[in-house]
């Protein structure tokens, strides 16, 4: 498990209660069916719901920002309503891109191809990409 646990364990004289606890824990885990010790119960459900919560607002927020920018530029330049129309469309596109990025698992980074590569690398081995990402 964690390094600080193992450090404590080696220093600790009372190793027996810990061992019995470890065996009991592993038995409990086997019976409950969850294998990963770090995973909390229903982490898949939590991630799915968190994902669902994010996606709707992404669409609307970009639209709001687009409309606000359009209105602001119109206000300054007196170009009613042209900038609003243009930025409304741009905002909708940005919103759809946001949703696409979230759905494709690209997190929030701007850009697509590089992140797709990054993403697949990261899911394969996070440790290896750690050094590459700094240089890139």
């Amino acid at each position: 498990m964690r390094s600080y646990y193992s450090d404590h364990m080696t220093n600790d004289n009372e190793i027996d209660p810990l061992n019995s606890l470890a065996t009991r824990l592993s038995h409990a885990r086997e019976s409950s069916g969850s294998e990963a010790p770090g995973a909390t119960v229903g982490s898949g459900v939590r991630q799915g719901l968190g994902f669902a919560m994010r996606i709707g607002v992404e669409l609307v927020s970009a639209l709001i920002v687009g409309v606000l920018i359009g209105l602001a530029i119109d206000y300054w330049l007196g170009t009613n309503p042209w900038c609003l129309l243009v930025f409304f469309v741009l905002g909708s596109i940005a919103g759809i891109f946001n949703v696409y990025r979230t759905a494709a698992g690209l997190s929030q980074t701007v850009g697509y191809r590089a992140n797709l590569k990054n993403y697949s690398n990261r899911s394969v081995s996070r440790e290896e990409t750690e050094g590459n990402k700094d240089s890139g």
Binding site: H8, D12, P17, L18, L21, G38, T40, R46, L49, G50, M53, R54, V57, E58, V60, S61, A62, I64, V65, G66, I69, F87, L90, G91, I93, A94, G95, F97, N98, S107, Q108, T109, V110, G111, Y112, R113, A114, N115, N118, R126, E130, K133, D134, G136
Partner: protein
Amino acid sequence: MAESAQSPLAQFEIKELMPISVGETSIAFTNSAAFMALSVLLITLFLVLGMRKSSLVPGRWQSMAEISYEFVANLLVETVGNEGRKYFPFVFSLFMFILFGNMLGMIPYSFTFTSHIIVTFTMAIVVFLGVTILGFVRHGWHFFSFFVPPGVSVVLWPLMIPIEIISYLSRPVSLGVRLFANLTAGHTMLKVFAGFVVSMGVIGGILPLAFVVALTGLELLIAFLQAYVFTILTCFYINDAIHLH
């Protein structure tokens, strides 16, 4: 008893507990501020007292404190990597503050400060500005390459760059609005259904009462989930700022 027909939105009213004003501006200590202070106090008590004994085999309370720590630490390391560790204090404070705010709001007669858009939006702006500054500090002017999507021909840049900028600026809006909208909608819905229980009498009120019970469970889930979503998006943004493509 006289004022039984209260608006379901009355719970979001800001009340001044201690009127203070500097010049013309009022900086009164409101019920919102009181609950923020209370949540900070509770977080401190929860963590400090929970870790007081810090035994090797944790008790229930210590276990809860450790789980909340490890939950955020794992989230940060999973999304950002080991470089993310130095932002842990900020992310953890943010998570605990929102979580406790949401959970305190679930107690009847309490006030939910996360149901005010000014609070959530301020937190979102802090995250947004912090992440933008972080990106600038780490990458300098190269940070603007963030807005140029790779693999797109130069002809499309005039179209793509405004879209990417809008997309980037929409981050604080979506962060703030999501938390605010979920909490406000949920609490209003609870109040509306609770109102049905009273108005439909003993027999007719059973169904809405069952609904309120179910909704309370759902709201508890959402209270946690929204804190989680806010935190994980903050982690994503920190990751984006550190690792530009």
